[in-house]
């Protein structure tokens, strides 16, 4: 493929890195990553993957930009309010790096469309804001054997892990079922520190880049937990669960499930 002079200059600071080089940059330019949810997590993920020269970036989000998004969703401007997020993200990111092809999907993911959307991507990044989508994404990635980079937050705390089906545990090995509607405070009630979303999103972006470049040790089989108030990172072990309902020895889930939405179903639904 070969890099142009401009590309060598643009990516020089990462091409210099051991384990990256021109070959690594070519891997990034050839990589296809799908970001699910262009909110507090998806924004920093998209910004950094675009900066790094990931060649194809799918962005799936059915929402429009709202004023209350802007404290953490850093790829949007005030003038984007009311626009479709995936479309606004594309315009902004294209200005950052014309090497990255941005493919917007203005759809809500369901059992009916997710397999078709994820099939062309190498890595899926989950930045969604609700349990039904998170379990749908996990199950779809297990069934399609796609690597999934999970991240989530609540107020001042966040979690991240990498799910590589067959090799390591999936999200259901960790938490086999989503909480029932009403068991956890809704997105709108919970609140979040904008910068916390950035920290977790950037852990996801970092893991995605490592996976594409095949450098370092991916966060497989363990979950990292960040606590912003204590400014602490902890890891816990996540073993593969042989009784996991989707990736265990005798799976009980054989097709995708559309769980009931309980994080608001109206137009006022917002990312937490």
């Amino acid at each position: 493929m070969g890099l142009t002079e401009d590309q060598i200059e643009r990516y020089s600071r990462q091409i210099l890195l051991p384990g990256v080089g021109g070959k690594g940059q070519e891997k990034l330019l050839a990589a296809k990553v799908l970001i699910i949810g262009a909110g507090g997590l998806g924004s920093p993920v998209a910004a950094y993957l675009t900066g790094a020269g990931v060649g194809t970036l799918g962005i799936a989000d059915s929402d429009n930009v709202e004023l209350n998004n802007l404290h953490r969703q850093i790829i949007y401007s005030s003038e984007d309010i009311g626009r479709e997020k995936a479309a606004a993200a594309r315009i902004r990111l294209q200005k950052v790096n014309p090497d990255t092809k941005i493919i917007p999907y203005v759809v809500r993911l369901t059992s009916g469309n997710i397999m078709e959307i994820i099939k062309d991507y190498d890595v899926i990044v989950d930045g969604s804001d609700n349990f039904p989508t998170r379990y749908l994404v996990n199950d779809a990635c297990v069934l399609a054997k796609k690597t999934l980079v999970h991240g989530a937050f609540f107020r001042f705390e966040g979690q991240a892990m990498v799910i590589k089906p067959n090799e390591g545990p999936c999200y259901r090995c960790l938490f086999s079922e989503p909480p029932p509607p009403g068991a956890v405070p809704s997105c709108q009630e919970a609140g979040v520190l904008g910068a916390l979303a950035g920290v977790i999103g950037l852990i996801q972006a970092t893991e995605t880049l490592k996976l594409i470049l095949s450098v370092g040790k991916p966060l497989i089989g363990e979950m990292i937990i960040f606590n912003a108030l204590e400014m602490s990172f902890r890891k816990v072990k996540v073993p593969k669960d042989t009784s996991c309902p989707i990736c265990g020895e005798k799976p009980t889930i054989k097709k995708l499930i559309d769980y009931e939405w309980f994080c608001g179903i109206t137009k006022s639904r917002k990312e937490a």
């Binding site: 930045g127 969604s128 609540f154 705390e157 938490f175 989503p178 909480p179 979303a197 816990v236 937490a272």
Partner: protein
């Protein structure tokens, strides 16, 4: 046995905002019992009606998930740190 329990943010309403709570218990069941004595209502959030830990919550002794140890009978010793970690979904 004096054990430190790390309470996740979604449950800190019940612990009056406290993240680290000291309990006296020899195993996980005892820990949940002592937590309930100190903070009535917290057991219901962690366990279902049959007393089993809910499927969207895990309990770790240090960094090990008790489901892969002895579940509720997992023994505790002085200085252990127990973490209660729920699934969260914000994005």
């Amino acid at each position: 046995m004096s054990i430190k329990v790390r309470i996740p943010q979604p449950l800190q309403k019940i612990t009056n905002g406290r993240e680290l709570v000291d309990v006296h218990a020899a195993d996980i069941k005892g820990m949940i019992g002592d937590l309930e004595n100190k903070f009535p209502g917290i057991k219901d959030r962690i366990c279902d009606q049959s007393g089993k830990i809910r499927r969207f919550i895990n309990i770790y002794v240090n960094e090990e998930d008790i489901r892969f140890l002895q579940s509720g009978e997992t023994g505790l010793k002085d200085g252990d740190e127990v973490s209660i970690i729920p699934a969260i979904a914000g994005g």
